[in-house]
C-alpha cells in the first residue's frame, strides 16, 4: 500500500478539487482520508453514507466549580488570556477564550478548577457515493484541528485501507506548515503539492518545501490557475527546477472548479471529456514515481 498526501501550503489553490478528481480516477483501488479538518469539504463532494461518528477528545479547558469557588479572584488575576471573569458574585471561564494552559487549576487555593479533556468533534468512516471508503472528521464550533486528530484519522484510514486490500491511500492535508501538516506527513510515500500562480502561492510553496526537505520526502508539484499570472508561474517552475521538485504539469484557470464544488461533484463529473485525460495523466505520472 502506498500513501500519498496532497498539500498546498496556501489555502484555496485547488488542493481538495485535485484530491477528489484523483480519487475519482482511482476509485476502485483507493481509500481517502480528509485531514484538512479545519475546513473539511471532501464529504460535500463524496457524500458518504450517514454513519454514527466517534467522539474525539483533545486538549483541555478550565472549568470552575461554583460550589467550591470562594471568589478570591486569583485565577482571574493570573489568567493571561483574560478568560476568567466575575459573574453574579462567582468566577467563571469563557471557554472560547481559554487556551487550556491549566495555570488556574494549579494555583486555585481551594482546588475548585478542573481541567477536563474536551470533546472537540467526531470522526467518521463511511462509504462514499463513488464506492471507496472516506475517513473524515467534523470539529465542533470553535474547536481547532490538531496533529493528534490528524494522526487519528490517518491511523484509522491506514488500517481500513490494509483491510480492504487497496493499493493507494490518498490524504487531503491541511494548508500551512504547522502541527496538523507535520502530522499528516508521517509515514507517507509521496507528496503532491498543489500551488497557484500567485506570489502567496509561491511563497507558501517555498515554506512547505523547506519542511518536506527536512523530512527528505519526495514530492511533485501541480501549478493550478497557471495562466492567471504567467510570470509568477514561470518563477514557480524555476523554483521547482532548482529544488528538483518533479513537475506534474499546469492546470489553467477554470470555473469548473468552483462550479463542481458548489454542485457536489468531482471535476471528472463536471466535465469528463475535459478533465479525465488531465487527471489520468497526472495520476500516471505519480504512479510512475512511487
Amino acid at each position: 500500500m502506498k500513501e500519498i498526501v496532497i498539500l498546498s501550503g496556501k489555502g484555496g489553490t485547488g488542493k481538495s478539487s485535485v484530491c477528489s478528481a484523483l480519487a475519482h480516477i482511482k476509485k476502485d483501488n483507493i481509500l481517502v482520508a480528509d485531514c484538512d479538518v479545519d475546513a473539511a469539504d471532501l464529504h460535500l463532494i463524496m457524500a458518504p453514507e450517514n454513519v454514527p461518528g466517534v467522539d474525539f477528545y483533545s486538549g483541555i479547558i478550565a472549568e470552575i466549580d461554583a460550589e467550591k469557588c470562594i471568589a478570591c479572584g486569583l485565577c482571574a488575576q493570573k489568567c493571561r488570556f483574560d478568560a476568567i471573569s466575575l459573574y453574579e458574585g462567582k468566577y467563571r471561564v469563557e471557554p472560547l477564550d481559554c487556551e487550556g494552559c491549566a495555570y488556574c487549576h494549579y494555583i486555585c487555593p481551594v482546588e475548585a478548577i478542573a481541567i477536563p479533556q474536551q470533546n472537540i468533534g467526531n470522526y467518521f468512516q463511511a462509504e462514499s457515493r463513488l464506492g471507496f471508503t472516506l475517513v473524515h472528521a467534523r470539529l465542533n464550533i470553535g474547536a481547532e484541528n490538531s496533529g493528534k486528530l490528524v494522526a487519528k484519522v490517518k491511523s484509522i484510514a491506514k488500517e481500513q485501507c490494509k483491510k480492504e486490500g487497496k493499493d493507494f491511500m490518498l490524504v487531503d492535508g491541511s494548508p500551512g506548515i504547522g502541527c496538523p501538516v507535520i502530522s499528516s506527513l508521517s509515514g507517507v510515500d509521496y507528496v503532491v503539492l498543489v500551488t497557484e500562480a500567485t506570489y502567496s502561492g509561491l511563497s507558501d510553496l517555498e515554506r512547505l518545501w523547506t519542511l518536506l526537505d527536512m523530512f527528505k520526502l519526495p514530492g511533485a508539484c501541480i501549478v493550478n490557475k497557471a495562466d492567471i499570472n504567467p510570470s509568477v508561474a514561470s518563477e514557480i517552475r524555476k523554483f521547482m527546477q532548482k529544488k528538483k521538485i518533479a513537475d506534474l504539469g499546469d492546470i489553467p484557470y477554470s470555473e469548473d472548479f468552483p462550479k463542481a464544488i458548489a454542485m457536489g461533484r468531482t471535476l471528472i463529473e463536471e466535465n469528463e471529456t475535459r478533465w479525465r485525460p488531465v487527471f489520468e495523466k497526472i495520476w500516471k505520472a505519480i504512479e510512475e514515481k512511487i
Binding site: G147, K148, S186, G187, L217
Partner: protein
C-alpha cells in the same frame, strides 16, 4: 553507544514507528551492556500540540546518542536534538527493530543533521 528507536511496541520484535513526536514507545539499546529497555511515550503522544519537543526532551534525558526513526523529527524537535548532539537516522519506518539496528550497523540508513 546508546541507541534509541521510535517504536510501536516494547521488544526487538516491534516495528519502527514512522512518527517521531507521537511514537508510542521509545526503545533504548545500550550496546555496551547489551540491554534493551522500553519507555512508554503514550502520555506524550496523546497531547494535542507540541509533542515533538517533548519527545525530543525525553530522548535527551534517556541519554540517547543515536536515534533511529521513520520520517524524522519536525523543525522544533530537530533543533532540540541537534543541540544535544543526537545523531539521527531516518527512513526506517515499518522495519522491525532488529532489522533497523542491523541496517544502521551496516551503514545503510540515511542520516540528517546532528
Amino acid at each position: 553507544m546508546i541507541v534509541g528507536f521510535t517504536s510501536t511496541g516494547e521488544g526487538w520484535d516491534a516495528k519502527i514507528d514512522p512518527r517521531f513526536g507521537r511514537t508510542e514507545f521509545i526503545l533504548i539499546y545500550d550496546e555496551e551492556k547489551d540491554e534493551l529497555k522500553a519507555v512508554d511515550n503514550r502520555e506524550v503522544s496523546d497531547m494535542a500540540h507540541g509533542v515533538g519537543p517533548k519527545t525530543a526532551q525525553k530522548i535527551h534525558e534517556l541519554g540517547v546518542q543515536v536515534l533511529i526513526t521513520g520520517n524524522g523529527p519536525g523543525g522544533n524537535a530537530a533543533e532540540v536534538l541537534k543541540n544535544m548532539n543526537v545523531k539521527i537516522y531516518i527512513k526506517a519506518g515499518g522495519m522491525g527493530i532488529r532489522e533497523a539496528y542491523g541496517t544502521y550497523k551496516a551503514n545503510k540508513l540515511e542520516s540528517i543533521g546532528g
